[in-house]
């Protein structure tokens, strides 16, 4: 079975709830009205019973006794639905206002000195009656039993009408609320259909579509805004990927073009062995560069696919930093810069990967520090994790470049290939993926001639 639509569910729920509530309310009303009628009837019947009892009690002599039927008839005038019967001690009817018979249980209850209101049907008509022993005024033929009954046809009629109206009201209200629920839900969900339509229209070449946020109910505004933000991120990631592809092509074109031109020039005429050797040596250098770039790109691709799983070993960052500084000693001395480590920190992670990340940052710092500058490596440990900051004096990086600094092949000056041919332009991107593979964060800030890269690794 196909699941019900949201609109159908809401409409159905509205109808059921409304019918249920009206049903309960109707049931309570029905009980109350019924009880009220029963109360009213009891009072009328009890009053009449009292009256007849009085008449019987006052008839102390024969003459009065013979006049009784007339008095009883008079007492019933003006009460068309009222029936009265007086029975003698043998249970024979001594007086009856109508031909209707009184049910046996009523009379038996009277004989037992009980007053109970009993409802019965005589022919088509419903009756409610009350009976009692009469106070003995006359000894002859006693003790007498008096029974009064009320035709409650109009009450029953009223109740029937009332119940019919109630059922009608239930049906009508249920239907109306269902329709209303359906309409309101359908209207409220209209923006959802629009979100669906927009999502359906999005493709790689059409990532700039956004949902209009104006006039949306708050619940959907959140969804639509999250949806738009997702599109922003997708568009951004897609753009970066597209840039990356273009950059790869560009980066590959340079060495391939070098190789091709060199080889073509070399074979354009005959040369001695040394000349050929030089061409091959130069080619090997380009190949090495290409191979390194492929290695780096594979590393990044693995990071993108979450295949970069760092080993879990205790790494003494102060010791690693000192070793890395020792490794870079010669280069730093040539560049006329000094490297200083301060603080201490230990972390669980992949020693090789962390070494590589730190080496890339140190390397980057050496390249961008002017002669005579001091590069600081600060290590700090707290309960939240460790922080490694690498700070170098150097030209301030304009703020607009900072967020893209870790992009692959991103260069401040596109025309300049930094660091000569050995540098692939992927170093900082690799730092970022290593840090992220460790669940950490990498930040960069640059102000007043000081550039600071900061790695936070969770404890």
């Amino acid at each position: 079975m196909r699941p019900l639509s949201l609109t159908q569910r809401v409409a159905l729920l509205f109808a059921i709830v409304m019918a249920l509530m009206l049903g309960l309310l109707g049931f309570a009303l029905d009980r109350a009205v019924e009880a009220h009628f029963r109360d009213m009837d009891y009072h009328i019947l009890a009053g009449k019973l009292e009256l007849v009892n009085n008449l019987l009690a006052k008839a102390r002599d024969r003459a009065a006794f013979d006049a009784l039927p007339q008095q009883l008839d008079d007492a019933l005038v003006g009460h068309p639905g009222l029936a009265l019967a007086v029975l003698d001690g043998d249970g024979r009817i001594w007086f009856a206002s109508t031909a209707e018979t009184f049910p046996q249980p009523l009379l038996e209850a009277a004989r037992r000195q009980e007053r109970s209101l009993i409802t019965w049907n005589a022919g088509e008509r419903p009756y409610r009656g009350l009976a009692a022993r009469a106070a003995a005024g006359m000894q002859q033929g006693g003790p007498y039993t008096v029974a009064v009954a009320l035709d409650i046809r109009h009450h029953a009629e009223f109740m029937r009408q009332f119940r019919r109206s109630l059922v009608l009201a239930m049906l009508l209200a249920g239907t109306i609320t269902a329709v209303l629920g359906w309409a309101v839900t359908a209207r409220s969900l209209a923006p959802l259909r629009q979100i669906g339509a927009t999502a359906a229209s999005i493709s790689a070449s059409h990532l700039n579509a956004r949902l209009p946020l104006a006039g949306l109910p708050p619940e959907l505004a959140g969804l639509a805004s999250a949806f738009n933000q997702m599109l922003d991120r997708l568009e951004d990631a897609f753009q970066r990927l597209a840039d990356f592809s273009a950059d790869i092509a560009h980066e590959l074109r340079t060495p391939v073009s070098n190789l091709m031109t060199q080889a073509q020039v070399a074979i354009s005429r005959s040369r001695d062995a040394q000349a050929y050797r030089e061409v091959l040596e130069s080619a090997v250098e380009e190949y090495e560069r290409l191979a390194r770039m492929i290695d780096d790109m594979l590393f990044l691709a693995k990071a993108d696919n979450r295949l970069l799983v760092p080993r879990q070993e205790a790494v003494d960052l102060a010791q690693e930093s000192r070793r890395l500084i020792e490794f870079h000693e010669a280069v730093a001395e040539e560049a006329g810069v000094q490297l200083v480590v301060s603080g201490a920190a230990e972390v669980v992670g992949d020693r090789l990967m962390l070494q590589r990340a730190l080496a890339n940052l140190i390397n980057n710092a050496i390249r961008h520090t002017e002669r005579g500058g001091v590069i600081q490596v600060h290590l700090a440990q707290s309960s939240g994790g460790v922080s490694i900051a690498i700070e170098n004096p150097g030209p301030t990086i304009p703020a607009e470049h900072l967020p893209r600094l870790f992009d692959r092949f991103y260069r401040l000056d596109p025309a300049r290939r930094e660091g000569g041919s050995a540098h692939t332009g992927l170093g900082l991107a690799i730092v970022k993926s290593i840090v992220e593979a460790h669940g950490g964060k990498l930040n960069v800030s640059s102000a007043a001639g000081l550039t600071r890269f900061e790695i936070h690794l969770p404890a």
Binding site: E281, E285, E288, D296, R323, E329, R356, G419, G420
Partner: protein, 223 residues
């Protein structure tokens, strides 16, 4: 020294064979896993170089069969795939080294020599000499033409490496690993600068230059 190469890519196989032969090794080339295994079980080799992806029997299976037959010759794997599982699987099966394509030939050569050297008597602490250069590992002294040369600790370690592997072309990655214990890929010129500084100390002012650059390959020390 006899080396078995099992490589199905004909061009790679030929170049490996040529390169290793010219480096002074006796080599056999097989192009399928089954042929390679047969050769390894019938001939006596000092080392095997196995490609991981081979038709029929792959490199892992060849290695397993070799170890099952009680052959404990060192095995170096070549693979175009660099997945951690691959590396782990290879090392668990008893491979001795693992090289990812594309690799530098000098790197392969250096690793082959390291594997072949393994298990032999440790390098003697005797005086190391090339031409008029002398390095005394025990007293940590270096002299050239009788004149004392002052070196930093790392420069000393670098020169000792060159002397112990005299005549071998040492790739940059190997130097970084042996001298500084840095085993990550790096695109720095750290090694070039370090070698240049060492060279200026031991070669400047002398007729015979001992340390040579082999472009695109690395550095070599020889008289």
């Amino acid at each position: 020294m006899k080396i078995l190469i099992v490589e199905d890519e004909p061009k790679t196989g030929e170049y490996l064979k040529q390169g290793l032969s010219e480096a002074g090794f006796v080599t056999d080339l097989a192009s399928t896993g089954a042929d390679g295994l047969h050769l390894a079980l019938t001939e006596d080799y000092d080392l095997a170089i196995l490609d991981v992806l081979l038709p029929g029997l792959n490199g892992w299976q060849v290695l397993k069969a070799l170890r099952a037959a009680g052959r404990d010759l060192p095995v170096l794997f070549l693979s175009a795939r660099d997945r951690v599982e691959d590396r782990v699987q290879g090392l668990e099966l008893g491979a001795d080294d693992y090289l990812v394509k594309p690799f530098a030939f000098a790197e392969l050569l250096a690793r082959v020599r390291t594997l072949l050297r393994r298990g032999r008597a440790p390098a003697s602490p005797d005086l190391l000499k090339v031409a008029d250069l002398e390095l005394d590992p025990l007293r940590r002294r270096v002299t050239r033409g009788g004149r004392r040369i002052a070196l930093t600790a790392k420069e000393f370690a670098l020169l000792e490496l060159f002397l112990r592997r005299r005549g071998e072309v040492l790739p940059r990655a190997l130097i970084a690993s042996e001298v500084w214990d840095m085993n990550f890929d790096s695109d720095t010129n750290v090694i070039d600068v370090a070698v240049r500084r060492l060279r200026s100390k031991i070669d400047d002012g002398f007729e015979v230059k001992l340390i040579r650059t082999v472009r695109g390959m690395g550095y070599v020390l020889d008289a």
